[in-house]
């Protein structure tokens, strides 16, 4: 108890290989009491939560990034190593390491346990997914395993109710028997000889303590026969992605309409409540319609993250990387880049941060360079608005909605251009360095746990709302200010916005952007759109609402359809495929690459592509009679 009374709170850390179910276990134990942040100075996600053991000890539990060894080959793995070894100044050294292992697949995990024993910190092995192992007839002699390894062993089933009770009880037993004066670490990076010896030892222990069933489980193999089939597998992957986009577009609609109506109602209420004037305009056009126009996209973001998290927990993400490796490899991307790039469909920021799973610098930089080309959810508002205003809602080939098809085309354009840019980067920047390897464990399929996925989606929702509440809100206030000041002179005949700062800025940009078919209203909206792409929609709303009076705010789409030509609308869509319209993404690139050069390069190439693409789109459309 000395440790417990000494500092009042204990520090436990979860260590384990990727796919050990470590995060599911962490979610099961900490629930919604977890805090997600970054380790200082690096962009590795820090997940921690305070838990209470059955006998009342408070424990700060940290979920360390997954790793196969302590050698630290990527920033994530370095964090794991430094915390385990107590080298990270900002973190308390762990009082207990909980090494999480998939009970159905112990080989690699036990080798890691043998390596962790050298660290000197108290260690406990958690056999996770014990329910699945038992179901498959894998018989583990816990006493024997504990005896052979020389550490306590406990079982858990993160996805079952009460599946972590044993683990919590054992934590208490360990706390009760804590002895200060830990052993010093004797860990050093293992040589290949030591790795071989450790793996042989692990295999020996498995032979002694684990008996495999006579008939091994073939479910994953049967599913993979279809899902990893060279042709069928790729077609299924395409179908999954297509369903995902249709869902984002169609399922979210009713909820979005509801949110939209709600904010409109709120706007009207405020309008009636407040006296005519600046304050009324600020609250209704600046605050309510501004924030409402952004929050309306929450359902789409949630659906997208729901898909990504489900596929991840199902074990399909690694398969997607396998299927895409050569397709992406042709463009010079790593199969592992698939996951960060897929996350970039939600937002380039988590996507760029997810590139940390790529241990090779070259692969990582190429992925970061092209990640912003993936159609992020912030573009959805812009695409949705323009598509619903300009593309007729009809069915083509009896089955596909034309609007959904255009949306799919925009996504496809982003993907194709990302592959093309990666290909160019590969032959331009990296001519002399050799291709790094692709090695990845394909975990067995598992039914995703509702609670774990829900926690993941919830965390994303909070992140989005925080952003909507801070960056986006302040930009909305700024755009309202730009569009409202200075006030028109007495007896002015033109709409008020014609005298504003926004108009001055827009007109200043007009000659530059006129060749691509943009009017000054669009130019004005592009400026605050730099804070976040989706702000451009709200900004257009604000610009037109202020110009056209209050009733126009409700129907931005109708307003645009009457003000823009189809060519202009298409040019703006083309612009948004490429444009580096997001200051936060650029900031993350700077932080992740540690260089202004990469940020400037990303900004420069995207801006050039955007200008060229919208120029071509506009002029082709005009030539075809859409001007």
């Amino acid at each position: 108890m000395s440790a417990a009374t000494g500092s009042n709170i204990l520090h436990f850390a979860l260590v384990g290989t990727p796919n050990s179910g470590k995060t599911a276990l962490f979610n099961a134990i900490t629930g919604s009491r977890q805090k997600v942040a970054n380790y200082p100075g690096v962009t590795v996600e820090r997940k921690a939560g305070i838990i209470q053991t059955p006998s009342g000890h408070r424990v700060n539990l940290t979920d360390l990034p997954g790793t196969y060894s302590l050698r630290g080959r990527s920033p994530d793995e370095e964090i794991t190593r430094d915390i385990v070894l107590g080298r990270l100044a900002s973190e308390a050294p762990p009082d207990l390491l909980l090494c999480v292992a998939d009970a159905t697949n112990l080989r690699i995990a036990l080798r890691l346990v043998i390596e962790l024993k050298q660290v000197g910190c108290p260690l406990m092995l958690v056999l996770n997914m014990i329910d699945i192992a038992r179901h498959r007839g894998i018989d583990i002699d816990l006493k024997k395993l504990s005896q052979e390894l020389g550490i306590p062993v406990v079982t858990s089933a993160a996805v079952r109710r009460g599946g972590t009770e044993d683990l919590m009880r054992r934590m208490d037993e360990i706390i009760a028997n804590f002895k200060r004066g830990e052993n010093a670490s004797t860990w050093k990076p293992p040589t290949s000889t030591e790795l071989r010896a450790a793996q042989r030892e692990a295999d020996r222990i498995i032979r002694a303590a684990v008996s495999q069933p006579a008939r091994p489980d073939t479910r994953t193999g049967k599913i993979d026969a279809v899902l990893l089939h060279p042709v069928a597998g790729l077609l299924i992957l395409l179908c999954v992605l297509f369903v995902m986009f249709q869902a984002v577009f169609a399922w979210a609609k009713p909820v979005m309409d509801l949110i939209s109506v709600g904010f409109d109602w709120l706007g009207v209420q405020t309008h009636d409540l407040l006296p005519e004037g600046l304050l009324q305009s600020f609250i209704q056009n600046g605050v309510i319609s501004g924030v409402g126009n952004v929050i309306v996209f929450l359902p789409q973001i949630l659906i997208l993250f729901l898909f990504i998290l489900l596929l991840e927990d199902l074990g399909y993400m690694a398969r997607a990387a396998f299927l895409m490796d050569r397709v992406m490899g042709g463009a010079g991307l790593h199969g592992r880049a698939f996951i960060p790039l897929l996350s970039s469909f939600a937002c380039a920021i988590p996507g760029i941060m997810a590139t940390r799973v790529i241990d090779n610098r070259r692969d990582r930089l190429t992925t970061i360079l092209v990640a912003p080309l993936m159609t992020c959810s912030a573009r959805i508002p812009v695409y949705t608005l323009i598509i619903s205003a300009f593309i007729p809602n009809k069915t083509v080939w009896n089955w596909f909605g034309l609007q959904g098809l255009v949306m799919f085309g925009l996504y496809a354009a982003g993907i194709v251009s990302a592959l093309a840019v990666a290909f160019v980067a590969n032959h331009f920047f990296w001519r002399e360095s050799a291709t790094p390897p692709f090695m990845l464990e394909l975990p067995d399929y598992k039914v995703p746990r509702v609670r774990s996925v829900a926690i993941g989606v919830y965390t994303r929702a909070v992140m989005f709302l925080k952003r909507a509440g801070t960056t986006i809100f302040s930009m909305m206030v700024l755009i309202w200010f730009l569009a409202s000041f200075p006030r028109p002179p007495e007896g002015a005949t033109a709409p008020a916005i014609d005298y504003s700062l926004a108009a001055i800025l827009g007109r200043w940009l007009e000659p530059v952007l006129a060749p691509v078919g943009f009017n000054w209203h669009i130019d004005v909206a592009l400026i605050p759109g730099m804070a976040a792409r989706e702000v451009a929609v709200a900004a257009l709303g604000t610009v037109y609402a202020i110009e056209g009076g209050k009733e126009a705010a409700a129907q931005i789409g109708q307003m645009l359809a009457s003000q823009w030509s189809l060519a202009t609308a298409l040019a703006l869509l083309a612009w948004y495929i490429f444009a580096p319209q997001c200051a936060s993404t650029l900031a993350v690139i700077k932080r992740e690459t540690g260089s202004w050069k990469w940020m400037a390069l990303t900004f420069g190439y995207m801006l050039s592509l955007a200008y060229i693409a919208s120029f071509i789109t506009f002029h082709v459309a005009v030539a075809l009679g859409a001007g």
Binding site: T220, P230, G330, S433, F438
Partner: protein, 91 residues
């Protein structure tokens, strides 16, 4: 070539086809055309469980150039490219 003769022959895993079953004979990273240094490749393969004596089966192949491959190593499945699999000598 008789079956017995074949069983004694070492071949790189990287040239084998889907359905191959065997054991790992040796890790010979120095002969593989990989992009990372041989010593590092050897350690990474070991960390994923590719150790001499382990049971091996090629389960799946990719579409383009039958690459990458998914390999069953004892009770785990690992995906890797053929160029790195050249370092794994099997029989």
């Amino acid at each position: 070539m008789s079956d017995r003769h074949r069983a004694q022959q070492r071949v790189p895993l990287g040239v084998e086809r889907k359905g191959f079953r065997g054991h790992i004979d040796a890790i010979a990273a120095y002969d593989a055309p990989s992009g990372i240094p041989p010593a590092e490749l050897e350690r990474r393969l070991l960390e994923l469980g590719f150790v001499e004596g382990a049971k091996i089966e090629i389960l799946h192949e990719g579409l383009v150039g039958r690459d990458p491959i998914a390999v069953r190593v004892n009770h785990a499945t690992i995906a890797l490219r053929r160029r790195e699999a050249m370092a794994i000598l099997v029989s």
